[in-house]
Assembly symmetry: C2
DNA sequence: GCAAAATACTTTAAGCCTAAAATATCCCCG
DNA sequence: CGGGGATATTTTAGGCTTAAAGTATTTTGC
């Protein structure tokens, strides 16, 4: 169960500070908007340049970086999405010939998935383009600014996780 | 058409700087992860506490803040989603009795949508809870840190928009 | 050894989302 | 006035996503 400030404490805090939750909310909205702009463009370019969706790109990235073939379960864990979701993505990538699938020799329930030769080539091209796009979109940020953002976003994530109660798996 | 550095320039840049696009990519991934954590929890809590999805909450927020009833087209613009998407969301909110819909007196093509009395009450409760959740999740950030993040995220968004070519509508 | 629990995966039902085509209406210009 | 382009909305086809239920296989504990 997550611990949250008792109602009374929360009200005290609000009373002490002239601004209630406004700043936090505005920050959240800005973070969200920022991510929407970048992600929207990445999706658009992946679709137009490679006819690939972001989820498929993500799945291929997992396979590309993995030393060995992975099961659907491992993929679903690493991508932090549901099992059924991975089933569908794998089906569609198989149709495109970008990955291959074979039964696990150790466990007859499991399937091992890996990139085909074409899948590897294709992924390398996409990853290179993706890196260029991101660098291009963030080009106005200095090294210092990137570093500051990295640090503060890490802190933000940690704060959120603490409030959610991650660390203890739910 | 967007102007991008020619391949040769890009390689020169990489050669000059020991780090290629790595920092930008890592920043993007961190921004994304940060947003996932917060958004995931907001969705979960909206569903468990109010049996409402985030898109429906967003739509109601638009109606709540608007001085007058809005058409589907205005909603779709403000929410930055497609027309067909709004059609579906409005259908489902109508079923729940949270919004109402009437033909525009000025334009027989258009429909005017607004919150019902129950919709307003319900939205106020959700918005209050949402503010509390966000403030709670961002509680470890100081006022200064929030301010810095606001500024740098604004700069990030502006940089991305410039690279995308927003400003000129596509 | 074998029943029960756990695990790997698929299926299903429902919702969100988009682009593109279809419909209905409005508005302008000749 | 009347045709043609613009606009408001819906529909359609396809993909992503989840939770929950179902299937097959493995593992565990007695």
């Amino acid at each position: 169960m997550q611990e949250r400030a008792a109602p009374l404490d929360a009200e005290t805090k609000v009373a002490e500070r002239p601004h209630d939750h406004k700043d936090e909310l505005r920050l959240w909205l800005r973070l969200f908007a920022c991510k929407e702009v970048i992600e929207g463009e990445v999706r658009r370019r992946l679709r137009h340049s490679f006819d690939v969706t972001l989820p498929r790109f993500d799945l291929m990235a997992q396979l590309y970086r993995a030393p060995k073939a992975m099961t659907l379960g491992e993929l679903s864990q690493r991508m932090m999405v549901s099992n059924g979701n991975v089933t569908g993505l794998v089906d569609r990538l198989l149709e495109q010939g970008l990955i291959s699938r074979r039964p696990s020799p150790k466990d007859r329930r499991a399937q091992l998935v890996s990139l085909t030769a074409e899948g590897r080539r294709f992924f390398r091209a996409m990853a290179r383009a993706n890196g260029d796009w991101i660098a291009d979109m963030l080009t106005d940020l200095s090294g210092d600014e990137i570093e500051t953002l990295m640090r503060l976003l890490a802190k933000t994530k940690a704060s959120a996780r603490k409030a959610i109660g991650n660390g203890v798996p739910r």
